[in-house]
Subunit: 226 residues, 2 copies
Amino acid sequence: MSEVRVIQVNESIFAENDRSAELIRKRLTAQGTLFLNFMSSPGSGKTTTLVALINRLKGSLNIGEMDVDIESSLDAQRVADRTGIRSLQIHNGGLCHIDADMTARALLEYDTEGLDLLILENIGNLVCPAEFDTGAHKNVTILSVPEGDDKPLKYPLMYQVSDVVLINKIDALDYFDFDLEKAKERILALNPKAIFFPISAKTGEGLDAVCDWVVEELEAVRAGKI
Amino acid sequence: MSEVRVIQVNESIFAENDRSAELIRKRLTAQGTLFLNFMSSPGSGKTTTLVALINRLKGSLNIGEMDVDIESSLDAQRVADRTGIRSLQIHNGGLCHIDADMTARALLEYDTEGLDLLILENIGNLVCPAEFDTGAHKNVTILSVPEGDDKPLKYPLMYQVSDVVLINKIDALDYFDFDLEKAKERILALNPKAIFFPISAKTGEGLDAVCDWVVEELEAVRAGKI
């Protein structure tokens, strides 16, 4: 009887993706650019949060931004219009994620030399983006108050791979049945190292602390600690 | 030079899915069961809406419910606890959608004989579930006010395949920057036949109209009009 060779297609895809991601990370580390990947549900306030953070940081940091969407260019346009920084819209052809090779192709179009900070706004989705390392130094997930404090129970991988969780729309805490402590506990059970920032991108509450964290991470990249 | 055969793998997957979906639809039509597929972002209020609708309809209709999630059983448990109807949790192994064959397997576990209404709560995601016909007679999408009125521009396929759009959390309209007319216009541009119900699953506003629609659709199925 002939021998049958078995391959794990998914493992192979993820292993290749991880190698590409590592190459991206190494190159950006070498040039002293911190690369952050922002993920969340649709409508959690990713673009609004990024605009607010960029406007606070752009006086001291040179920032670039890349936006992933299925077909519209709304988000990249909003970021460019509202912050004045250079933004690239990536259309991923209807997929529910962006992987490291797609990111690498985008980086061929987008000159990152001299950037202090490169931001990737991933597609709005709590499932697929969590599966693919994009080459970012850190993953940031936004969980917004109207979505409910049960999201970590339902989309655990997203919280396992997130270094930082921004709990957004806290100005609406009185309006929705959202328990901040319960949300944190559920995330810490999945990922004990998770860092939290309760914020309101609308009012600006909590954003200075996020900016301080970004600056610390940039220093860590430049000190070879990430 | 040899001839090279080209296959469209995706088209083949979708064509097979469509055949399975048609078989599901035919069987449920034959037994007089209306099958509705509910889709939305995470946190838009799918489960809360379904609980409210089921509690309004269960006095007059025999209702079954199936819930798709990656790994938790929270939603099926909530529906069962809060309505008393029979609910089945489907774990889809980390995928971002459920297709017709997965639905068919679930139907082997779940006896639908004698049901007037079968509800599928799809996974919270605006990308993948839109691609797969589940065999439902009608697709219902929930768009919640805090998510923003730009979602139809960013996730067009979801709105193209939806027969009905429930605009949920309208009790929060004063609190968020959401233009109901603009949302409708954007959806109608993608899908001129879309039907809208502005609702609040929390306060109950608008739910009676949705219940009337469900009863009309059940009558249409039984009259052989769907």
